[in-house]
Symmetry: C2
DNA sequence: CGCCGCATTGAAATTAGTCAATACTCGTGG
DNA sequence: CCACGAGTATTGACTAATTTCAATGCGGCG
């Protein structure tokens, strides 16, 4: 994940010499409180965002309220490349969050002048597509336990720390991301705990005790 | 779907005057028979492809053989943008198929010289991301009947003809695409037929009799 | 201290999956 | 021209996984 992040943070903009730094001048900082929305499904997609601190989730709703969480965006992650003219999901802060906002028009314009920028955008899009394909496999064919195992490993990979995972989101968010109910998520986590595969420090912090077992469950397709 | 297709077919290459035509000179024609593979998951991603005639499916397998069909690619569709260095799925011909093959290196190189090409690539990637998000919603939250309804409408949209849908793939392919078993696919289709929503001309051709009912089922999120 | 939101656990209900039998289609060969 | 057989699809009966409904538990904050 980290490897494909492209646009530097506003903080890093001080370190120039790279075509990408031009981008950072386009960014303005945005802050959101927990549960605030960044944009809504159907809004005109005027901006890209990059998470600096905190966490964001993308949501889609069906008419009767069933919800799907497409992705969780953590520090460094880029939001908005999967929009044609309008946003296709809403984005909400999972916790208090800071982001950098970029005018999509300006970034896109820059992309065609500076090949490096264009390449990075395409690289991010590619990466999101890969993640989306993996998630579709998970949703279409994995069991509840396998989904949870895959999710925990994914979060661990993204968080630097190998066996200590922080889950900023609620069980409902996790369920809506994995196509499960909150109860099933809870039961799977409890089962993994009973089996000694993980330990629950508290409901938002998990220790991976037996990574091999977790990876076997996740079935690295 | 059609609107975002970008690279012209080899056939159209004769009509020049557009930056994109440079691309078509890079293409060579490939033909596949039913069930032949175009490439395998894990192969180095050297080529992009575009379907000219026929149909291709993308597949991912779990260790124990569970299969997921990510997408069906129909004439005009572009294959391969969702690969970083290696292909993340295998691609197989659903029926006898003709494609144009492009060297990825050449296309990518051209993309940074000709902004239009880069824009089109990014446009295709965006479009696939949108489709992937919709599919994740389907897989994570829709019932079997809703999945079938969504799938039929999607195929109808892609095929020009509004109420006559040709399904070149088998029930197994459809099931693996929608996260269902072959039996459930069959039962859902039978139910829709009994309810007068569709008619089955034969097992690969369907008539939409009551589009409103189908759209209500699909719940245009 | 007690409430409120979130999480866990249990028991019943339901959807989709599995196993199994039958039917259809199409191509081949008697 | 019809019969056969392979592959695919449909239908039925039963099973299993997950959801739903319901109750209890836990933790932080006013």
């Amino acid at each position: 994940m980290q490897s494909t992040l492209s646009l530097q943070t506003a903080r890093n903009a001080a370190a120039p010499r790279d075509a990408l730094t031009a981008l950072d001048r386009l960014g303005t900082v945005v802050t959101l409180h927990r549960e605030e929305s960044l944009f809504y499904e159907g809004d005109v997609a005027e901006y890209y965002f990059k998470v600096v601190t905190g966490a964001v989730r993308s949501c889609k709703l069906l008419a009767d309220g069933r919800r799907h969480v497409g992705d969780f965006y953590l520090p460094g992650d880029f939001i908005g490349l999967d929009a044609e003219s309008d946003y296709i999901f809403s984005a909400e802060a999972v916790t208090d969050t800071t982001l950098v906002r970029y005018s999509r028009r300006s970034v896109d314009a820059l992309a065609w002048e500076e090949p490096k920028v264009g390449q990075r955008l395409l690289g991010i899009a590619r990466h999101r597509l890969c993640a989306a394909r993996a998630q579709m496999m998970l949703l279409s064919r994995k069991t509840a336990d396998e989904r949870i195992a895959s999710f925990l490993l994914g979060m661990a990979d993204r968080s630097g720390d190998n066996d200590h995972v922080t889950l900023p989101m609620t069980r409902t968010d996790i369920g809506d991301h994995l196509g499960l109910t909150i109860e099933t998520v809870s039961r799977s986590l409890s089962q993994l705990r009973k089996d000694g595969v993980i330990a629950l420090v508290n409901s938002h912090e998990i220790l991976i005790r037996d990574r091999d077992a977790l990876e076997e469950l996740a079935e690295a397709a």
